[in-house]
Symmetry: C2
Subunit: 106 residues, 2 copies
DNA sequence: TAAATTGTTATCCATTTGGTTAAGTTATAT
DNA sequence: ATATAACTTAACCAAATGGATAACAATTTA
């Protein structure tokens, strides 16, 4: 299995981008609206949007002179599933059974 | 709410560290055991372990000359919850209601 | 048509990151 | 007592990252 998952995690590994995502969860927004809370110049900010988009966490389309961004549910679901698929393994209750089964697989 | 969550996400934003975490989900392991699959010198590898530990995703203790690492369930649960707490917001079913409520809050 | 909005492109810069090698340190094994 | 194993510390390096400015489109708006 070839994981490119780390790219999505890396996209979340920055406070600005995490905040942008939280804001987009409330609904789509334009670049400049998204940028407002963040104390940096636009070119720096749009780079962050690029990272999120390349990571598959947001989508965007330009209409006239305004680009509107929105959450990409597929990207977030993929990350969410990474955790749900592994939750039992760190939560302890199934640890002994799980690790035993995994050991057999090696 | 002061998020240091991005630090944990950043820790997962590297293929080596993601692989280490997957391996540790199978059970605790020593540094050199963990390092074996990864084609890099030990100092580089232990830096990755340091990142994971500072991010609260793994713990470790040294016994004799061998350091044993293990998953830190609290760290993984925190990340997991970030997604589960937001799942409804990107899954669409509640989107209209959710965004409407959030709009009222602003 | 002129001016203002809303991005975009191009360069540049300091810092962080992910790696290296060399030289220790501390336990265990012979 | 020596050698080996399992890290650690220190110093260094290239490349990626997160930021800045300046200049340039391309729409609206007045």
């Amino acid at each position: 299995m070839d994981n490119n998952l780390h790219q999505s995690f890396q996209a979340l590994g920055d406070p600005t981008r995490l905040a942008v995502l939280e804001q987009l969860l409330k609904g789509p927004a334009s670049v400049s609206d998204l940028a407002k809370p963040h104390p940096m110049a636009l070119p720096a900010f749009t780079k962050h949007l690029g990272v999120l988009e390349r990571a598959g966490l947001i989508t965007s389309h330009k209409s006239g002179r305004v680009r509107t961004c929105a959450i990409d549910p597929a990207g977030l679901s993929a990350l969410d599933r990474w955790f749900t698929d592994r939750r039992a393994m760190w939560e302890g209750r199934l640890d002994r059974l799980q690790t035993h089964l995994n050991a057999k697989k090696d």
